[in-house]
Amino acid sequence: MSKVYVIGTGMIAFGKYPDRTLADIGWPSLREALLEAKVKPDSLDAIYCGTALGGMLAGQRVAKVLGLSGMPIINVENACSSSSSAMAQAFNAISSGRFDTVAIVGVEKLTKFGGGTLPLEAEDWENRQGMVMPALYAMRANRYMHEYGLTAKQLAEVSVKSHDHGALNPLAQIRKRVTLEEVMGARPVAGPFTLWHCCPTGDGSAAVILASEKIARQVKPDAVRIAASEVTSGKYTNGYRDMTTAELTVRGSHEAYEMAGIGPDDVDVAEIHDAFTIAELMYYEAFGWAKPGEAYGLLSSGATSLGGKIPVNPSGGLLSRGHPVGATGMAQAVEIVRQLEGRAGKHQVEGAKVGVTHATGGGVAGFDHGACSIHIFTT
């Protein structure tokens, strides 16, 4: 079993690029990662592409622009976890010894749907009753607020923290701070959420180059290592479910910690799936950084802000960096690798040695979520 290292990263600024093709949204990040890794394009053993809605052969379409062809190219779809699930396949292939150098690119163009809510799977019976993603998270929020006494104002503070971070990140889709009053006074989307409680839709791509121990030793001896690579799916029930806890992430994070041989206290920085404000709080608890019901206390202590004990979403997270579904996992990976290498710029977490990425999502009736992928990176 070879260890797996990250030898290159690339990412474009997330935003709205309606006039670019999916391929033209994708290749710049892959090019940047290749140049950073200093690997020759034809030395790639395989390319994995994560996209949720990019259409057929997205990886081939992106790669061909850079003249990359003739190697295995695998497209992976797992809703919001698409590119992180793709990375998990690459991780398996390298650790098995089959491949030495693999590129992963996450790419999405949501502006092709013309704005508004994303197309939902019409076969899902809940969607046919009017379910939308903000409503699913809003039900979690309302129940959590009911059980733990969290207020709407406290919930809104998550958004303020996120935008404080995003304002420092030149690759974020939303690069401005918002006040508590702005968050609370914005247009309602799904009570208790206003617009600023919800991640924006947009386009983007991000990429990393992974390498086996053999290659990493040659080209980048100090490369960040992937200590855990984990994908899992939600547990189905048509019965009662406690929606104040994220069953899928609780399970996934335990498995990832075990694989990496670390615990919650060892994490220095994390990029987690804050698609809506409540999600960030619930995931503090799912990852073991706060006890059930105590996530707001952690937030308000400043521990999860830049300068705190465990900064969460220093990039701005989904709420500010943006969430082009299939690209999110790789954007998180790029952020964490650059953090651990000390080159995150204005949103650098000083001295970070262990980082976590977490992408989960996909609304399917009866599930917490359809998929969840967690990776742990170490210097």
């Binding site: 508004g116 019976w125 809940e126 009662y240 009736a365």
Partner: protein, 146 residues
Amino acid sequence: MSTSPEIVADAAMAAAEPCFVAPELIDASGGAPRLVAGKCKACGALSFPRAPVCAACLAQEIGVAHLASEGVLYSFATVHQAPRNWIVPYHLGYVDLTDGIRVLAHIDGEPKINGRVRLGVGRVGTSAEGTPLMSYVFTPVSGASA
């Protein structure tokens, strides 16, 4: 592709009548509406919507069963932004029925977490052709709390 005149006429007639969003989920034949579920003939597991195969034991003989018509509102959301056809804002909630099944439904009335709710039928939207869209809905039972 051309559409035959007969089919156009049918569609126009249908448009005059309210139409159910998911008619297979509701049985109104006995007067009061009931939610239609499946019940595995081998192991008794309930499925909603009625499944073609049992998720508990993989048996394929699934009978028809009715779900309980009362329950407790586990949580809700007030949706302001939704795909066309839905009348916004609307309350959407998870109802924990007394028989152990959780059902997503429109809540017709002021939703209250842990409040008791009862099954009914109501209008939830308007089709692209202007037809009222109906579905099962749950209505808070006034003053009651579980």
